[in-house]
């Protein structure tokens, strides 16, 4: 896939993620009002709308992703700015030479590593890490061990993230504002894990529009 097509795919992906977050912002805020401070949907939506506005048609895929990350850093606020945006900026260097299956695994691992490091969170703390970790591990396994296509691997990663979100529902929060509730946080899915799942689902939708089952681009006019 040439750089122009990658670029177009990334722009479509951003539009898709932004649309999904906008559609779910009320739901995300509702989840956050149960165990947080009821602003996750609005904050994340503000961030992705800013990223859409900032996106210009220049630069390599890495620069594009970095630009999205910077927009999130500048406009989401609180701890989510560094977690969603800063991690994207950090991982964006993996796309400097374009996107292929190996680079996508490196990107995913780099993003996960930064989220865990920045948030000082691990699996089981009831955070976005509980959705990202199984998604990234499953994706890497599917690509490297099973040699599946990126699209097929992403399908599995989304399933894994969904199971991660369900896992956050039944456990007690150890990190973030929800941890203040202690046992009262049990029974509520983590809003950050949930928004992470929505982002992955939107990315999957874009991948399905651009790739066939062998990672070849669909028709030339896939845009």
């Amino acid at each position: 896939m040439d750089e122009g097509t990658q670029r177009a795919a990334l722009e479509t992906a951003l539009e898709s993620v932004a649309a999904r977050i906008e559609a779910e912002k009320g739901h995300l805020t509702e989840l956050d009002s149960a165990i947080g401070d009821a602003d996750h949907g609005a904050n994340l939506n503000r961030g992705f709308q800013a990223a859409l506005e900032d996106a210009n048609g220049e630069g390599d895929p890495g620069e594009f992703v970095k630009g999205v990350g910077m927009a999130l850093v500048a406009s989401v606020g609180g701890a989510s700015g560094p977690l969603y945006g800063g991690s994207l900026v950090h991982a964006s260097t993996e796309f400097e030479d374009g996107i292929d299956r190996a680079a996508s695994v490196a990107f995913a691992e780099s993003y996960l590593e930064k989220v865990k490091d920045r948030g000082k969170a691990n699996v089981g703390d009831k955070t976005m890490v509980d959705a990202i970790t199984p998604a990234v591990h499953t994706y890497k396994h599917a690509i490297e061990e099973e040699e599946l296509s990126a699209l097929a691997a992403l399908t599995r990663a989304v399933d894994a993230a969904e199971r991660g979100v369900r896992f956050t529902t039944v456990i007690r929060a150890n990190k973030g504002r929800a941890s203040y509730l202690g046992w009262r946080s049990v029974g509520h899915p983590d809003p950050g894990a949930t928004s992470t799942l929505y982002i992955l689902e939107a990315l999957h939708e874009t991948a399905a529009a651009y790739l066939d089952g062998t990672d070849e681009p669909l028709a030339e006019d896939a845009e």
């Binding site: 910077m70 850093v73 500048a74 406009s75 989401v76 606020g77 609180g78 701890a79 700015g81 560094p82 977690l83 945006g85 800063g86 900026v89 950090h90 920045r118 948030g119 000082k120 990190k175 973030g176 504002r177 941890s179 203040y180």
Partner: protein, 342 residues
């Protein structure tokens, strides 16, 4: 002015225009009040020293949510801070603005960030430092202040909160930088200050953020809240109202127990939370110094006033710093800022 009417028909009275503009308008007001000390970094909510960056000196920067005035921009000037970033009320500044501040305050000798321990603040400072390192060659270090002895974990933190003791870290780091110490040495001194300082606060009333327009917690007429933070979060214990001496004893006993003071000389701050008459702070200070004297602890210097506030909360905090010769020299060094002159 009358800004909002809530569903119960009660009014929030504040001297503001639009609640969305409070931070920006405050910063503009500070700049016109103190043009010889501070200027605004264009396109940001960052104030810097008017002469920043100071060539060859380590830059000392801080920042956090607004609502704690005079912290942090009030401490901009010779002998203290070079940069102060203002977030929205009780909300961390964003990493891009912190990054712009770090770059603007680098006089070639690096920058030390003094960060209060709140998850949002720490994560945004860490991200800003990472961005600064990705973009340029600024050498950056940071120190996290966690002086609140009331809680181990809170609504906004892992570990203790950073509160009024932060001002003393500004003072020590600022004096060391002015003296010409290098970044690593200043960081060591700042961390030494953090290790030796403790604070505990209490509230007579909650505070009201311009955004929400109603008190952040309810407190009855005969109740006080002990162990409060500076963001209108509830404290660790609610008690029946007690007199000033009893409040002083309660707060200072907790701080002293935590510090396990070995040296016999300390510096103290009796800090107002924003809406406390100075009269009451002096009454607290009277008992505090009496109590320290009973313990054989000598106060080298005791500040009384509003240093780290929580909007319109009535109440106070007591800070004690265990001194040594090294810290004493830096705390006694000159400082010339809008909010503090030494």
């Amino acid at each position: 002015m009358l800004d909002s009417v809530d569903g119960k028909g009660t009014h929030m009275k504040k001297l503001i225009n639009d609640s969305a503009d409070v931070v920006s308008e405050m910063l503009d007001g500070m700049v016109v009040a103190h043009p010889e000390y501070v200027r605004r970094l264009e396109g940001t909510n960052v104030l810097t020293r008017a002469d920043a960056p100071v060539d060859g000196k380590v830059g000392i920067v801080s920042g956090g949510g607004s609502g704690h005035e005079p912290a942090h921009a009030g401490y901009l000037g010779e002998g203290m801070l070079d940069g102060a970033a203002a977030g929205e009320v009780f909300t961390s500044p964003t990493a891009d603005q912190l990054g712009a501040m770090i770059t603007a305050c680098d006089g070639g000798a690096g920058v030390l960030c003094v960060v209060k321990n709140y998850e949002g603040d720490v994560m945004n400072f860490e991200t800003a430092i990472e961005l600064a390192e990705m973009e340029g060659d600024t050498e950056v270090e940071y120190v996290v202040v966690d002086d609140d002895v009331a809680v181990e974990d809170s609504l906004y933190t892992s570990g203790r909160r950073g509160v009024c003791g932060t001002i003393l870290v500004h003072k020590v780091a600022g004096a060391a930088a002015t003296r010409g110490d290098d970044l690593i040495e200043i960081k060591r001194l700042a961390e030494r200050t953090v290790e030796r300082v403790g604070t505990m606060g209490m509230a007579l009333t909650s505070c009201t953020t311009p955004e929400k327009g109603e008190p952040t917690f309810d407190l009855g007429d005969e109740e006080i809240e002990l162990g409060i933070g500076i963001h209108g979060e509830p404290g660790v214990e609610r008690a029946e109202i007690m007199d000033a001496d009893a409040v002083t004893d309660h707060l200072s006993e907790r701080v002293l127990a935590d510090l396990e003071i070995e040296e016999n000389e300390v510096m103290t701050i009796v800090n107002g939370m924003g809406a406390t008459p100075l009269m009451e702070l002096y009454i607290i200070n009277r008992r505090l110094q009496e109590l320290l004297g009973e313990r054989g602890i000598e106060t080298w210097e005791g500040w009384v006033g509003d240093y780290m506030t929580s909007l319109d909360m009535a109440g106070c905090s007591i800070t004690v710093l265990e001194l040594d010769a090294e810290l004493k020299e830096l705390l006694g060094a000159p400082a010339d800022t809008p909010a503090l002159t030494v």
